[in-house]
C-alpha cells in the first residue's frame, strides 16, 4: 500500500514536472526577428555572398580566426596559429570536437576543401595562397607566394570553413553545412530566412531557439518595422533616423565606429584630375567635419582625407589632415591654370569650363547625400560638378570605360582591422585609376614585412602619401548601427561590419 502510494506520488510528480517543463518550453521559445536589407542569394562558398547575406552567413559559418568586438584577432575554429619562413608559411592548429551541422566532424580535410580551387576566395585570387595541405587531422599548412599576414585574411565572414557535405558527389551545392551557432531551416525567397539553434555548438551555447531574418530592402521601412514592433532588431539604420530612435524609450541604439570609410576616388588617368593640384583643390574644398556634424547628425567621424578609420591597425595619429580652405583651393586651381575669367562662378582654362563628372551608386542614400553635399561645395570652389546616380551595373560599366572623373564609394577590400584596402590605389588593382610606382612599392613592402616596427612606419608612410598625392579623398568613417527593441538583452555590437554577433543574446519577457 505504501509502495503504491509512493509510486502514485512519483507518477504524479513526474506528470506535473512534465507538464511544467512543457509549459515552460512553450513560454520560453526564444525567437529573435532581425530586419535585413537584402536576401541571401547564395549559400555556397564558391560565390561571394553579397550585401547583407554576410550577416546571415556569420550565424551559420565560422572562420578559423575571429575578431572580438574591438577587432582583436582571437581563436575561432583554429585554437592557435603560427607563421614560418618570415610569414610565407602558416600553420593553423584546429579546435577538436567541433561538429558540422550535418553531424560530420570538423577537421583539416574540411579546411582544405574550403580553400580549394572550388572556393571563391581562391578562384578569384584574393587570398595569396599557393597551397593548402593537411599536416595531420587537426593541423593545416597554408603556403603563400610571399610573406603576408594571413591570419588577418582568414577573418573574412565571406571566406569561412564549410563542410564538404555541402556539395553532392557530382560537385553540386546541396545545402549550407557550417559549424556556427545556428543552422538554416527554411528560406522564403525575398521574404525571410529561418535559422534554428545548433544544439551541438562548441562555443557559448546560443540562448535563442530561432532567429528569423526578415528581408526589408528599404532602409526607412526597416526602421519603421522596428518602431512598430514587427521586428526585434534592425541592422543598417540610416543616419537620419538614429537620433529619433535614441529618444524612443522602447528602443536601444548600438553604435560603433566601423572599418569602412566613404571616399572620393579620382580618375588620375584622364581628365582634370590627372593634375594633383586639382585633387588637392578638391580636398581643400570639402568640409567633411561639417558634413558629419550637420548632415549625418554626428553619426560617423570626419575623415578629412584620412584613409584609415581610427579603429584600424596602424592608423596613425597626428597626420596632416585637410582643413577646408577655399582660398587655398582657389590658389591651387589658379596654379594649375584654372581661373574664373567670365564671372559665372566656374573656373576655366583655355576657354573650357572645369566640368567634373561624379558617379555615385543609387544603392546608398547616405552616399547620395554626401555626393550632393560634395557637389555643392565643389561648385562653390569653381568646379562645375555633375552627379550621375547609377545602379551598380551601370556604375561598373562607366568605371570600366573610364567614363568618370570621380567616384563616391565605400571601401572595398575592407575587412578586419588590417588595412588591406590601401591596395585599392595599387596600380595592380583593376579599379585603381591611379599609377604610382613609389606607392606600390611602399604598400608591397608594408604587407610583406613581419617586423612590426617597420610595418608601422611603412603604413604611416602610406597614409601620408595618400594625403599628399590624393589618389582619393577620404570623407567619412562610417559607424555601424544596430537598433534593438528593449526586449532584446545581451547584445554587444562589434566593429566588424558584416558580422552580427548573437552570442549571449536573449529575449526578456
Amino acid at each position: 500500500m505504501k509502495r503504491l502510494l509512493v509510486f502514485a506520488l512519483v507518477i504524479a510528480m513526474a506528470l506535473l514536472a512534465g507538464c511544467g517543463a512543457k509549459e515552460e518550453a512553450a513560454v520560453q521559445e526564444q525567437v529573435l526577428t532581425v530586419a535585413i536589407g537584402t536576401d541571401v542569394e547564395n549559400w555556397d562558398i564558391s560565390k561571394f555572398p553579397d550585401g547583407d547575406a554576410r550577416f546571415v552567413w556569420s550565424q551559420v559559418y565560422e572562420t578559423l580566426v575571429r575578431l572580438d568586438p574591438d577587432l582583436k584577432l582571437v581563436p575561432g575554429l583554429a585554437e592557435k596559429w603560427e607563421s614560418q619562413e618570415a610569414g610565407k608559411v602558416w600553420l593553423f592548429h584546429l579546435r577538436k570536437g567541433v561538429k558540422f551541422h550535418d553531424g560530420t566532424l570538423f577537421n583539416a580535410a574540411a579546411v582544405v576543401y574550403s580553400y580549394s580551387e572550388r572556393s571563391n576566395v581562391i578562384k578569384a585570387g584574393t587570398l595569396p595562397v599557393t597551397k593548402v595541405e593537411a599536416v595531420d587531422d587537426y593541423t593545416v599548412k597554408f603556403t603563400c607566394q610571399q610573406p603576408v599576414p594571413l591570419d588577418t585574411y582568414l577573418t573574412h565572414v565571406a571566406w569561412p570553413v564549410a563542410g564538404p557535405g555541402s556539395i553532392d558527389s557530382a560537385g553540386n551545392f546541396v545545402n549550407p553545412v557550417g559549424t556556427g551557432p545556428f543552422k538554416l531551416v527554411k528560406q522564403t525567397k525575398s521574404q525571410e530566412i529561418v535559422l534554428e539553434r545548433n544544439a551541438d555548438y562548441w562555443g557559448e551555447k546560443p540562448q535563442l531557439d530561432r532567429v528569423v531574418f526578415k528581408v526589408i530592402p528599404d532602409a526607412s521601412t526597416r526602421t519603421l518595422a522596428l518602431t512598430a514592433g514587427d521586428v526585434d532588431m534592425c541592422i543598417k539604420v540610416p543616419e537620419p533616423e538614429i537620433r529619433q530612435l535614441e529618444q524612443d524609450p522602447k528602443i536601444t541604439v548600438h553604435r560603433k565606429l566601423s572599418t569602412f570609410t566613404d571616399f572620393l576616388q579620382f580618375n588620375t588617368k584622364k581628365g582634370p584630375f590627372t593634375d594633383v593640384k586639382l585633387r588637392q583643390a578638391v580636398a581643400y574644398s570639402i568640409d567633411t567635419a561639417g558634413m558629419v556634424k550637420n548632415m549625418l547628425d554626428g553619426i560617423g567621424a570626419a575623415a578629412r582625407g584620412r584613409a584609415y578609420s581610427p579603429v584600424m591597425l596602424y592608423s596613425t595619429d597626428n597626420l596632416p589632415l585637410y582643413q577646408p580652405d577655399p582660398e587655398k583651393a582657389k590658389a591651387l586651381l589658379a596654379a594649375a591654370g584654372w581661373q574664373d575669367t567670365n564671372g559665372d562662378g566656374v573656373v576655366e582654362k583655355n576657354g573650357q569650363p572645369l566640368k567634373v563628372k561624379m558617379l555615385v551608386s543609387s544603392w546608398s542614400s547616405r552616399q547620395q547625400r554626401e555626393a550632393e553635399a560634395c557637389q555643392a561645395q565643389l561648385a562653390a570652389a569653381g568646379f562645375a560638378a555633375g552627379i550621375a546616380l547609377l545602379e551598380t551595373g551601370a556604375l561598373t560599366r562607366a568605371e570600366n570605360q573610364g567614363d568618370f572623373d570621380v567616384i563616391l564609394r565605400s571601401g572595398f577590400f575592407v575587412w578586419g582591422p588590417y588595412p588591406h584596402h590601401v591596395r585599392i590605389h595599387h596600380s595592380k588593382n583593376y579599379r585603381s585609376h591611379y599609377q604610382n610606382p613609389a606607392y606600390d612599392q611602399v604598400v608591397d613592402a608594408a604587407e610583406t614585412t613581419t617586423d612590426e616596427q617597420q610595418k608601422r612606419q611603412l603604413y604611416e608612410q602610406v597614409q601620408k602619401m595618400i594625403l599628399a598625392e590624393v589618389p582619393a579623398f577620404y570623407l567619412v568613417h562610417e559607424e555601424k548601427v544596430v537598433a534593438t527593441r528593449n526586449n532584446v538583452a545581451g547584445y554587444t555590437i562589434t566593429a566588424e561590419d558584416p558580422w552580427l554577433n548573437l552570442a549571449g543574446v536573449h529575449l526578456k519577457r
Partner: protein, 276 residues
C-alpha cells in the same frame, strides 16, 4: 450634357494650370533662394517664416525647390505629351486616311505596344537607357503615343467618308492637303482633351520613375526625387515628403480638372458630327 459643370471645371483647372505655368516661368522671382544652395548648418528646419516649407537634409530651401520643380515637371509633362501627341496624331492620320496594309501594320504595332502596361514599359526603358532627364522623356514619350493614334484613326475614319471630303477631292485637292486642312481640324478636339489629361498622367509617371530612382539626376529639384530623398526622414521630418507630394497632386489635379471640363464642353462625339 454637363456643359455647365464642364465650364466650371475648365475655369478652375485653367486657373490652376496658368498659375503653375506662371510659377514655372517666374521661378527665379518667386523662390526666395537658389534651389541648389546648401546650408548644412540649417538642415531639416521645420516650416517657418523664412523657410515656408522648411529645409531638407542638406539645408536647401524646400519651397525654392518645389517652385523650381514646377519647371522640371511641367517641362517633362509638356515635352513628353507634345512628342507622343505628334507621333500619335501623325500615325493615326495616315493609318486612318490611307488604310490598307499601312493601317494594318501601324495598328498592329499600336496593339502590341498597348499590350504592355505603360508604366512597366517606361520603367524598363528608363532602367535600360540609364537615368537622366532626356532618357526619362524618351521612355515616357515612347510608351505614350499609342492612345492618340487609336483615337485619331477612329476619328479620321469617321470624317473621311463624309460628303465634304469627297467634294474637296473632286475639286482636285491632294491627299496631304485634305489631311491637314480638312481632316486634322475635325479630329483635334479629342486630341486636345487627351493631351490635357495626358500631361497630368505623364507628370505622375515621371514622378514615379524618379521615386524609384530611375528618373532625373540629383541635384535637379524634381518632385518625385524629392519625395524619394525624404523617405528616410518620414518620421523625423515629414515636411520633406508632404510638400513635394502636395505639389504633384495639385498639378495633376489641375490638368485633370481642365481635361475633364474640356471633354464635357467639347464632347468629342458631338464634335465628330458637326461637319454633316
Amino acid at each position: 450634357m454637363h456643359t455647365e459643370t464642364g465650364n466650371k471645371a475648365v475655369v478652375g483647372g485653367l486657373i490652376v494650370v496658368l498659375l503653375l505655368a506662371g510659377v514655372a516661368v517666374s521661378a527665379p522671382l518667386l523662390a526666395p533662394g537658389d534651389p541648389g544652395r546648401q546650408n548644412l548648418v540649417l538642415n531639416l528646419i521645420k516650416p517657418c517664416w523664412e523657410y515656408p516649407f522648411g529645409t531638407d537634409e542638406l539645408g536647401r530651401c524646400i519651397f525654392s525647390r518645389v517652385v523650381y520643380g514646377t519647371r522640371v515637371s511641367l517641362t517633362i509633362g509638356v515635352v513628353v505629351t507634345a512628342i507622343s501627341g505628334l507621333i500619335g496624331v501623325f500615325t493615326g492620320l495616315i493609318a486612318g486616311y490611307f488604310g490598307g496594309l499601312l493601317d494594318e501594320i501601324l495598328m498592329r504595332t499600336v496593339d502590341v505596344l498597348l499590350a504592355f502596361p505603360g508604366l512597366v514599359l517606361a520603367l524598363v526603358l528608363a532602367g535600360l537607357l540609364g537615368p537622366g532627364l532626356p532618357n526619362v522623356i524618351l521612355a515616357l514619350a515612347l510608351v505614350g503615343w499609342m492612345g492618340y493614334a487609336r483615337v485619331v484613326r477612329g476619328a479620321v475614319m469617321a470624317v473621311k467618308v463624309k460628303e465634304f471630303v469627297a467634294g474637296v477631292r473632286a475639286l482636285g485637292a491632294g491627299d496631304w492637303y485634305i489631311l491637314v486642312r480638312h481632316i486634322l481640324p475635325n479630329v483635334l478636339a479629342p486630341v486636345i482633351v487627351m493631351a490635357t489629361l495626358g500631361i497630368g498622367h505623364v507628370i505622375l509617371n515621371a514622378a514615379a520613375l524618379s521615386f524609384l530612382g530611375l528618373g532625373v539626376q540629383p541635384p535637379t529639384p524634381e518632385w518625385g526625387a524629392m519625395l524619394n530623398g525624404g523617405r528616410s526622414y518620414l518620421r523625423t521630418a515629414p515636411h520633406l515628403t508632404v510638400f513635394p507630394g502636395l505639389a504633384i497632386m495639385v498639378t495633376v489635379l489641375g490638368f485633370n480638372f481642365l481635361g475633364d471640363g474640356l471633354r464635357d464642353v467639347l464632347d468629342p462625339r458631338s464634335q465628330a458630327k458637326i461637319p454633316d
